[in-house]
Symmetry: C2
Subunit: 263 residues, 2 copies
DNA sequence: TGCCGGCATTGACGCAGATCAATAAAAACG
DNA sequence: CGTTTTTATTGATCTGCGTCAATGCCGGCA
């Protein structure tokens, strides 16, 4: 295979929008290419305007910058607009454990609603921008806009479901299955966002992957090598090309995400 | 220690209510001893009546009976009223993987909201009763009652947080820490419900515990024996008495649930 | 452009926990 | 009650993956 079959999908600002293009980075939800994945699902343009009023678009974060830290008081939940964000906890000894990778259109900070305090820290994996959704405003507005309430509940439910799936994965699957599941899952999410699910760039390090999957870095590395040797994918550094999606999903068991059994 | 230091806390209908006592088991939320844990938190009595109208109390389930099955369409979420319920998925080969144990006051079925279909099955671990909360009604009513919306969001957020904690546990801790965390967590929840957090009866089998924690039954059994030998607890079959809660929590690491570091 | 520091890969080795197998102790049931 | 079935415990063995260690590679920076 040739080098350029690895298409680099930067995911940094999708489909023709550009940060700061028209109005200092304030692309309204109306015009956002993610609006069929994110909070705006099912809202008419009047409601979208109301939603826009509680949202602030912040300057992009650079790789490694914090979006918030565990222990900060909840003021907003965040929708990823471009790039990607990881969330993680630090154990008492200081080693971090990754709890999630978040792609454009996904909400971050939902775990803070119960206590009013973010239980995890969140940092950018690459240059990323987010929409800051004032939480008070969101609570208010979703009392007034049925579609917004629906979508908020749906997104929270989806997160519950996803986390449970991860529990099953971590509790029940061997290392190979875990990595296969993660890759299949990322592929699917990349696909939903309009990019090729077969070739993408992993924005997180091997360390992050290992931490998320409960594996040692070395194991992750070996697995990539093995999966490549078996012809399931090509990998070189962070570039991944999936050559046999079906076989990969079968390796992952039922657990890619959700119900649909592998076949 | 003597046999009767193992107080059996049946948890079956708390504090003087009895199924069928006054009106065929229909204890109103107003009079339910769980109302400071469950959906009613923060509602006045007028709102409680409205909530009551979308709730149906069903006949108790017996051990092993299904509350719902994975794949069933979502019609209601359920609040445990007495007893305990487990939720689990079945892998393609038929072996089940437990995703949660649910005590009185906890909500079940929140993972179904995203897709409209329950992603897991739910069965009673012992004789248990639940309140069936019509989901349509709940959506409607939480648009009208701010406190209800708040509490629903809070409960969902708590579940997200709990599941993430489990991910950290399963991904990062050794077998002993996992069991210690589960026991500490159950102890805390039993305590919140007004019972002694030091002596309780596990309603689930060793198999269920193993499945939930990602361990073989044999390992679970050995761990109980070991923890007992080390003087952390006494166990005989399902009766557990925690002798050194602090040391147990320290074994569990940060991960019992949530922020508060172990000391 | 060349040096440096972090990230990734590969190999060797040991151990925690899975698996297999047997027994014991409770429940379940007629 | 005695019989059967399920559940729990304990022991012996085996193995997947963690750990340690060494090397290679890329990207950043002067």
């Amino acid at each position: 295979m040739t080098a350029d079959s690895f298409a680099v999908h930067s995911m940094t600002v999708s489909r023709g929008e550009r940060y700061g293009a028209a109005c200092g980075g304030n692309v309204a939800c109306q015009d956002c290419s993610l609006h069929q994945l994110c909070l705006p699902v099912g809202l008419d343009s009047e409601d979208l305007e109301r939603l826009d009023r509680i949202i602030r678009r912040r300057r992009p974060l650079r790789r490694g910058e914090y979006l918030f830290r565990a222990g900060d008081p909840l003021r907003a939940v965040y929708a990823v607009r471009s790039g990607s964000i990881k969330t993680y906890t630090c154990s008492s000894e200081g080693d971090e454990h990754v709890t999630g990778f978040h792609l454009p259109g996904e909400l971050i900070g939902l775990g803070a609603i119960a206590t009013g305090v973010y239980p995890r820290s969140a940092r950018a994996l690459e240059t990323s921008s987010v929409c800051e959704v004032a939480y008070e405003g969101l609570e208010d507005l979703s009392m007034k806009i049925r579609g917004l309430q629906r979508q908020l509940l749906r997104l929270m439910s989806r997160e519950i479901h996803h986390d449970e799936t991860m529990m099953v994965l971590l509790g029940g699957m061997a290392a190979e299955g875990r990595l296969a599941a993660l890759l299949s899952n990322i592929a699917a999410r990349v696909g939903e966002r309009g990019f090729s699910p077969h070739a993408f760039r992993l924005s997180m390090s091997r360390n992050d992957i290992g931490s998320y999957l409960g594996l040692a870095v070395e194991t992750v590395s070996r697995l990539f090598t093995r999966l490549q040797a078996e012809g399931l994918l090509n990998v070189q550094r962070k570039q991944v090309m999936i050559r046999d999606p079906d076989r990969l999903r079968r390796l992952a068991g039922v657990c890619v995400d959700g119900l649909p059994p592998p076949r």
